[in-house]
């Protein structure tokens, strides 16, 4: 399955303003991969997600499921989508988890017995088997989110859209959620598109990230490509602060020099200076090197580079 977005444009018009939430956005998403959409607030991430799942009709452009366009008459394609939407409840809080499963099973025309069986197994996996008949409103945020995820995949969607899926989750629940998202994508060859402001989560689960700025496509990177990009690798070199007269020699070579009690912490950007040359220089000038640490570039570094 290939999901292709072609020239998606959405403009919100108010009495006082015109906002272009999506501006000619085009991209091709492929099955079995997890894509992250990254951008500042108001970049158009939620508009993009909602345009893909038919909740927001774009002004221009179209969404193609393989070759089939969603607009104007391809709503059948929506059967292939499951979604968790940010700021929405996604499930009924006055219902129990099982009542939610029953409602959404009927709504999507799924066989009830089989769906209940599958949902119960998933709830068990999420540690919710004792809460099946407890109203959702009495459960924690993490449990609610797990139930929402379970409900969103009841119909075996080929595409799963997750808008801020780990919002409000504690680190343990967040990690479990990440594991589950990854497992779902890999085991079932599904396409997953995630938006999140928690870049470390995207870094853990995404195969590829797309940067969005004011509704426009900015760039996209493979996560591996980001981590292995030697130009962005930096080294933290710690030297003993004995030879204080030579400190002035270091300025210009290092991106940052932190002067602590008995140590100098030097930050070397690999794209600016070669590590070996740098070490030779330090030894030659009688600096005593205590430690060298290699820091691979993170998504956050890239984010700061793109948006700061």
């Amino acid at each position: 399955m290939v999901l292709t977005l072609k020239n998606l444009t959405k403009i919100y018009k108010n009495k006082n303003s015109i906002i272009t939430a999506l501006d000619n956005f085009s991209y091709e998403f492929k099955s079995g991969k997890v894509y992250g959409i990254v951008g500042l607030n108001g970049a158009g991430k939620t508009t993009l997600i909602k345009s893909i799942c038919g909740l927001l009709i774009p002004d221009r452009g179209n969404v193609f499921f393989d070759e089939n366009p969603l607009y104007p008459n391809g709503k059948n394609n929506l059967k292939k989508i499951g979604a968790i939407l940010e700021g929405s409840r996604n499930i009924f809080w006055n219902f129990t988890p099982l009542q939610n499963v029953k409602y959404f099973a009927y709504l999507r025309g799924l066989p009830l017995k089989e769906t209940l069986y599958k949902a119960t197994a998933l709830f068990e996996e999420f540690g919710l088997s004792e809460k099946l008949n407890t109203p959702v409103r009495n459960l924690s945020q993490g449990m609610k989110q797990k139930i929402a995820i379970t409900i969103s995949i009841l119909h075996h969607p080929q595409i799963l859209l997750l808008d801020e899926p780990t919002l409000g989750l504690d680190p343990i629940s967040g990690n479990k959620m990440q594991e589950y998202i990854l497992k779902f994508a890999r085991d079932n060859d599904r396409l997953i598109i995630v938006t999140s402001h928690q870049l470390s989560i995207l870094e853990n689960i995404c195969d590829r990230v797309i940067f969005l700025k004011k509704g426009c496509f900015v760039s996209s990177y493979d996560m591996e490509e980001i981590k292995m990009n030697s130009k962005r690798i930096k080294y933290i070199i710690k030297v003993l602060k004995e030879n204080t007269n030579n400190i002035s020699l270091l300025t210009g070579m290092f991106a940052r020099i932190i002067n602590s009690d008995n140590m100098l912490v030097l930050e070397l950007l690999s794209e600016e200076f070669d590590l070996n040359r740098c070490i030779e220089f330090l030894i030659k000038n009688r600096f005593i090197i205590k430690d060298i640490e290699k820091i691979s570039p993170s998504l956050e570094d890239l984010f700061m580079e793109e948006f700061a």
């Binding site: 508009t47 909602k50 038919g54 909740l55 929405s88 959404f104 709504l107 025309g109």
Partner: protein
């Protein structure tokens, strides 16, 4: 078709879960309606001046019971779709429900059908209580069901119209409340239509409940047969009236759902 029936079934399931969970609230509103009816009948027998009122004779009371019970259905048909959509928008579940290849109008149909069955139960309770309280006996011929359903179709159309408006304008509570009371006062449910001035009688005929109530009362109290009803011009006017409100509701809802999807209004309150 199977999928559409499944959507209707989902909404029925949801309504029954709510009805069970909030049964005390629903029962309280039934008690409240009983007292409203009691007040209406009692006020028709009392006077602040010297005029003699005789609104508690068995015929008047029986007419009012039938009118009030039909209004009881109208109360829900006109306002429930709008209020349940408003609740969905408010709690933020509507987008998840709308994440389907099928238009939301099928969800509305499901909600309406389930509420009809739930209200039939409560209306029966009221009907029995009214008959026992006022010591009247009202026989309901089976043919009434057909005309009741046709009336309900028109009322459901008006409900859909308001539901469609709710998708865009959100807070329509006061408008539906005004409409509900218009239907109580101007359809002949509790006040005989012949006491109105001519222009109000004309206005009353345009409302979605008046003609249906007239026909239902003819069947119950004048024992008019089905064959006689269908030969009356009033019957065709009634069909046109119900059809008009149904089409008004369906088209308004479909157009405004599309507009709401364009504006991204399904997820905002």
């Amino acid at each position: 078709m199977k999928k559409i029936i499944s959507i209707i079934f989902a909404e029925c399931y949801r309504e029954f879960v709510y009805a069970k969970r909030y049964s005390i609230e629903r029962l309280s509103s039934i008690v409240m309606l009983f007292f409203i009816f009691f007040g209406i009948v009692y006020s028709s027998t009392t006077s602040f001046g010297n005029h003699h009122l005789n609104g508690s004779d068995p015929v008047s009371v029986s007419h009012r019971i039938v009118g009030f019970l039909l209004w009881f259905f109208a109360l829900d048909a006109v306002g429930h779709l709008s209020s349940s959509l408003r609740e969905d928008l408010h709690i933020g579940i509507l987008e998840q429900i709308a994440l389907s290849p099928y238009p939301l109008i099928f969800n509305m149909l499901g909600r309406s059908i389930s509420r009809l069955f739930i209200n039939l139960f409560f209306a029966s309770l009221l009907f029995i209580t009214f008959q026992l309280t006022y010591r009247v006996k009202i026989d309901i011929p089976v043919t009434v069901v057909i005309f009741f359903l046709l009336t309900y179709v028109g009322l459901y159309g008006l409900g859909l119209f308001f539901a469609g408006l709710t998708l865009i304008f959100k807070r329509l509570g006061p408008v539906t409340t005004i409409t509900r009371f218009l239907l109580l006062i101007f359809t002949g449910a509790i006040i005989p239509l012949n006491t109105f001035p001519h222009f109000l009688r004309i206005f009353a005929q345009t409302l979605p409940m008046t003609l249906g109530l007239n026909i239902i009362k003819d069947i119950i109290f004048k024992k008019t047969s089905f064959e006689d009803i269908v030969t009356m011009p009033l019957f065709y006017l009634f069909i046109l009236n119900s059809l008009f409100y149904l089409l008004l509701g369906v088209f308004t809802f479909i157009i405004l759902e599309k507009k709401a999807r364009s504006k991204g209004a399904l997820g905002t309150y």
